[in-house]
Amino acid sequence: MSDVNVLHATLPGAGLEHSSAPSALAVARLMLERDLRLAFRKSSQLVQPLAFFAMVTTLFPLAITPELSRLRHIASGVLWAAALLASLLALEFLFRDDAQDGTLEQYALSGRALTGLLSAKTAAHWLLTGLPLALMAPLAGVALGVPTGALPGILASVTLGTVTMSLLGAVGAALTLGVRRAGALLSLLTLPLAIPVLIFGAHATQLAIRGEPYGASLTLLAALAVFGMTLAPLAAAAAVRINLE
């Protein structure tokens, strides 16, 4: 019986201690840490989009021509189409597991702002899928005969593009939570919205490959990312709440 008393003595008078609530930043860090830890315990989900990206970009030289001078012309398109499809592939897992095992519901009932929690989850998703893609894109670029001078431009543009993709995907994934086999619907929903990312991204990469200044396209990509950051978590949170009902 003594341990009971200890417990009740240590639990502050139920619910009174609102001050003991962790700060929004601490909560975001907790979510981030949780998602990273979970991802590394089932790493197959991480590898899949990367493997897809690697396969697509290596198939093109085999299918078209091994001539680097000709590959260079299509490199930006190949890189971007592959990157976009690879990040779509990863989106399905964004909220699905959490919705299935009831943890998403618990987060929605935690009294914390769902927008913040979902932002943290999206950030974790980008770190796990977008960032590796961005780091891999220059390598794939080299394989496609891109001059080394263009690699920073590729890295920067794919980094910004994948941020927007993760954010768009968060909205799409939240909207399709209640749908079984949501993959196809999710692609259908997200891909049209991702077209501006594709256009500006491929354009920036093209310019970088030609050795021309690509700052303007990069700025537009950054603008899209910022736009997504401000609105996507709000939309995703609203969609999650609707789906939990």
Binding site: L11, A14, P22, L38, D101, G102, E105, L109
Partner: protein, 212 residues
């Protein structure tokens, strides 16, 4: 007891539709500090629907839920910080250990000392297996991890959907004891059950839902 000011949860003629089905037809109830409302009724009577409506997850077509005299819709986040909901399935991540699960689940809501987590785990008899991945635990052990989470959240209102599912006889008694202690400390509980809860008669109230 320790300053949980007198709290009341009240449902006022709650109507809920699920598509074509009128699931809840004017359900009303009142639970005050120190009381447990036991929801019974056959499958499909709307026990889970009522609990989810009380949580604020489902929007009732008519009627309202009041907490401390205020419609919960007025300030849902504030209401959520004072309640805990346990659904059919324990909300646990299979890849994480019991302890990690509690850390991320409860940590989002409140800060707690390590000793409190240990205390909660000990209370549900889980010290021995709390560091194993949840996927290796039995259904009853998962349920116990969820109960530890409930204790650790330290909130006045417990909303429990079939809290004794998968538990052995001793575990079912434990649920009763935990609820009794919670009520004694001034807490409230609302539980959907098929088998009567092993709680003391004193604070027990009953609500029977019928199939419509």
């Amino acid at each position: 007891m320790t300053g949980i000011s007198e709290a009341t949860l009240k449902g006022e003629s709650v109507h809920l539709w699920r598509g074509e089905r009128h699931v809840l037809r004017g359900v009303g109830f009142t639970v005050s500090s120190g009381e447990c409302l036991q929801l019974t009724g056959p499958n499909g009577a709307g026990k889970t629907s009522l609990l989810r409506t009380v949580c604020g997850m489902s929007y009732p077509e008519a009627g309202r839920i009041c907490w401390r005299g205020q419609d919960i819709r007025d300030d849902l986040p504030a209401f959520h910080t004072e309640m805990a909901y346990l659904g059919h399935e324990p909300p646990l991540k299979m890849e994480l250990t019991g302890r990690e699960n509690l850390h991320y689940w409860v940590g989002v809501r409140r800060r707690y000392a390590r000793a409190q987590l240990d205390g909660a785990l000990e209370r549900v008899g889980g010290q021995r297996w709390a560091d194993r991945p949840v996927r290796t635990l039995s259904a009853g052990q998962k349920r116990r991890v969820a109960l530890a989470g409930l204790l650790l959240m330290a909130v006045p209102l417990w909303l429990l959907d079939e809290p004794t599912t998968n538990l052995d006889v001793e575990g079912q008694r434990l649920v009763g004891t935990l609820i009794d202690e919670h009520l004694a400390a001034g807490g409230l509980a609302m539980a959907a059950v098929h088998h009567p809860l092993a709680v003391s008669e004193r604070g027990l109230r009953r609500l029977e839902l019928g199939v419509v």
